[in-house]
Symmetry: C2
């Protein structure tokens, strides 16, 4: 009886841990409108920042940036961080600070939208 | 001299092919607003459709769906298809048709936005 109870508790505990792990991810949409006259320069800054972040930071799971074909200055970034801590570290990196300072005057608007993924753990093949 | 010319042409040709391959991907944002009263049912349909598409169709590279935390009925899907042909096949699959017919009356608005990825080939770790 004792063993069964222990087993049930262990199971509940591991399920809970698993659930928490899933929930720890930060999944966000960043929506930006860029000054058209500075778009090329902005895109170069963003590309550098994304490539550095994804290759150097294990906790930056993706930064998938797209520009609308009909309005190339309208950019959306799907940002996935492993957890709060990974995000906090990210915004203190030299490459992020370089991007932030370098693009300040190019960004017309920035909206950060916290989201919940429908299928956590979804990848890109 | 002839060999050099041939080499240059081969190089240009392969660069062009490479460029075309990158450009063949279809990368799109789908923005949906769902009838709040039917959101749970809609999400179940969408989850089934995404899981079937990504596991059964090699040309569906991702369907990353997120719901806004503050407005859960506002859904954005990052859709990546290998090429036009993969997309055409996708919308003829039984699982897509089931989703389309099953959710028709749940969708308040649907906007499909063609996009260009800033870093083609970006993955999710």
């Amino acid at each position: 009886m004792k063993t069964t109870t222990l087993l049930i508790f262990s199971l509940l505990f591991s399920l809970n841990l698993f659930g928490q792990q899933e929930n720890k991810q930060i999944v966000r949409l960043a929506k930006l409108v860029i000054d058209s006259a500075q778009l090329e320069s902005y895109n170069a800054f963003l590309k550098d920042e994304i490539e550095a972040s994804v290759s150097l930071e294990p906790g930056v799971l993706t930064l998938y940036a797209v520009a609308e074909k009909d309005r190339p200055s309208h950019i959306t970034i799907l940002e996935i961080y492993a957890d709060e801590e990974a995000y906090r570290k990210h915004i203190q990196t030299p490459h992020f600070i370089k991007y932030k300072n370098g693009t300040r005057d190019m960004i017309r608007s920035l909206e950060l939208i916290d989201t919940t993924p429908l299928v956590p753990g979804m990848k890109i093949k």
